[in-house]
């Protein structure tokens, strides 16, 4: 794997002001993303998991600069090897970056303008970036449709003629139009049916193998994230609480939150039901506007101690992974059992 990250995020912060009163005075801030450090290697997939409200979507949107970050740096390695900080760029200067870092949206219905044909939708980024003549763009639209598994004749149709899965293919074609290097897939398959989901996941995978794309795969579904990711980062209340190579993180989690998440995933294997005991999580996810002091996870953590209530744990290296927990070394946490082992037991 390459040692030079494609995109490296340092201390990225996004606060949404909370305004109140007649004059809209700012009375506080939702720390949607709070000092996040992450790196995405070229051609690899970084999975980002967490519950709703943890800031994973905001982080993804900051990366494509749909949101302006409040603070931090986003160092992007350009194709010529030079590194630029895209966190501070103005809207106009962002154009080349936005051609190389693209996004696939969650909702295949609302992300395609119903009043435009597929030709217009997929051709839009090419027109905006002066890709070529009308004929060249049309030809490329045809190629892209073919690439994502739709018939090129469909170019004249409107999105409403397609099912969710097909629309998501259109969204992918639009993202690929300018041959990007990084694609942020924000819950890209969550709205799809199980049987179509696998098709789209396979398509994303083929595209990565063909053109060396990197993905930031944002999802709440741990099964899917495990399936697609090389590296996984777990977010809780705007912070990364654990990050590491997928297999290690899933089999031997270091953070109690990761353990709780993994144990909550319902497994269709009837054998799993019998010998898995559930990790109790206390209460609901906290309000991101009122993050608890100390470790943000402590009110829900079954292992919490006094230090956890007062001192926020830093994200630190533990055994080649990064984790934000005071007790990372002491706890023996359970991950997903190895399927082979499990089968023997069952």
């Amino acid at each position: 794997m390459s040692t030079e990250p494609l995109l490296s995020i340092e201390g990225l912060t996004k606060h949404f002001p909370i305004r109140s009163g007649l004059l809209g005075r700012q009375v506080g801030a939702v720390k949607a993303v709070d000092e996040v450090d992450l790196a995405i290697e070229p051609g690899s997939t970084l999975g980002l998991v967490g519950e709703s409200g943890c800031g994973k979507t905001t982080l993804g949107r900051c990366i494509v600069r749909a949101h302006d970050p409040t603070g931090g740096r986003m160092l992007y390695r350009q194709p010529d090897g030079s590194v630029i900080d895209v966190a501070g760029l103005q809207e106009k200067e962002l154009k080349p970056y936005r051609a190389q870092v693209r996004m696939i949206f969650q909702d295949p219905h609302s992300s395609l303008n119903p009043r435009k044909t597929l030709r217009e939708i997929i051709g839009e980024p090419m027109r905006a970036h002066r890709y070529g003549s009308k004929e060249e763009i049309d030809e490329r639209v045809g190629e892209l449709l073919d690439r994502v598994g739709l018939r090129p004749e469909y170019a004249n149709r409107y999105p409403h003629a397609f099912s969710g899965g097909e629309r998501q293919r259109v969204g992918i074609a639009r993202a690929l139009a300018l041959s990007p290097r990084l694609v942020v897939a924000d819950e890209a398959v969550s709205a799809l049916d199980v049987s179509v989901r696998a098709q789209i996941l396979n398509l994303l995978r083929d595209l990565q193998e063909d053109s060396g794309l990197a993905y930031l795969f944002v999802s709440h579904d741990l099964g899917i994230v495990e399936h697609v990711s090389d590296v996984v980062a777990v977010m809780y209340l705007g912070k990364v609480v654990e990050q590491g190579p997928t297999e290690e993180l899933y089999t031997r989690p270091l953070h109690p939150y990761t353990e709780a998440l993994l144990s909550a995933v319902p497994d269709p294997d009837p054998a799993a039901k019998r010998h898995r005991e559930r990790i109790k999580l206390l209460g609901d996810i906290a309000d991101p506007a009122h993050v608890p002091p100390g470790c943000p996870f402590h009110p829900r953590c079954v292992y919490a101690r006094d230090t956890c209530r007062t001192e926020p744990p830093p994200l630190r290296e533990v055994g080649g992974r990064r984790v934000a927990c005071h007790l990372a070394e002491e706890l023996e946490l359970r991950g997903v059992p190895d399927p082979d082992v499990r089968e023997v037991k069952a």
């Binding site: 609302s110 839009e124 409107y158």
Partner: protein, 376 residues
Amino acid sequence: MFLRRPTKEVGTLPQWRLMWRQFRRHRLALAGMAILVPVYFVAIFAEFFAPMSSSTANTSMTYAPPQALRFSGDLGLYVHGYRTERDPKTYEQRYTEDPGQRIDVGLFVHGDEYELLGLIPSDLHLIGPVTKGEPVFLLGSDQNGRDLLSRLIHGARVSLSIGLVGVAASFLLGMLIGGISGYFGGGVDNAVQRVIEFLIAIPTLPLWMALSAALPTDWGPLTRYFAITVILSLIGWTGLARDVRGRFLSLREEDFVMAARLDGVGRLSIIFRHMIPSFASHIIASLSLAIPSMILGETSLSFLGLGLQAPAVSWGVLLEGAQNIRVVANAPWLLAPGVAVVIVVVAMNFFGDGLRDAADPYGNRRVRRGRRRRAA
């Protein structure tokens, strides 16, 4: 088992075709359209459809009641003439139908001269007395002995167009102000919203009255017409501006707008190529619902004598002649313009309803499926 399967071409139908498919299913709206199209057609070619000009008066035939149009195979169309007598006590003129007197009525007859659409000089009328000047009053006559049917048709032009022109003016104001408010947001938005609230809070009728009372009395009918339109639209834009603003605000959050931004599309292009087309159909639909209130506004103003004034003809002006109880009791046909207003306004509302339902041909199906109901 499955009835109509959707045709293959459905996927390539542009929005207006889908809207038409949706609109066709709305029976009342179709009925409304079936009324409005001929009515507007007649209004445009009023001179041709009206038997006489709006000012042709037969002073000896005041308050003549409507005649029944008769038809017989060998004689063609005709009406019976009037026998008039004067009440010895009240000196009131009384009309009875005289079956012995036959006035021939023809189609495409020559009558009062006019210029069609202000261009083509002609004297052809769709229907009228074969001999020019004979008393034919299919809807009766007014206090000056003018044909009410002719005046109704001529009045339709003013009354119906004032709605369209007024709405067009509101549309411009509403789009512009609502767009600015929704797009810039913040302080501008706040200020605009307060102004709109203030305007909405003023009772309409007194405001109209004040504004039209301020119009100089020596203005000609045309200037007055435009002044009234402006007054009506000055009030009408507020609702539209709010609508436009709301749509701007919600569209700003739509994924496809964000997608366009990330595609590198410029701001103006996003507004004009993505946002406005997305709500234009809704706006047009709500506009068609605003037309009736404009028509009613003009009618009320003119009725009160504050809007258009004779010699201009509009439905409101015609109704002004029917203000007095005695007149209404003796010549109820003078209320015909009121009936016309009701029919047109109702048709307009049906039409607008259908348009509104059809305005979003994409969303409806989902709404229909996703509707939820309480379990108890």
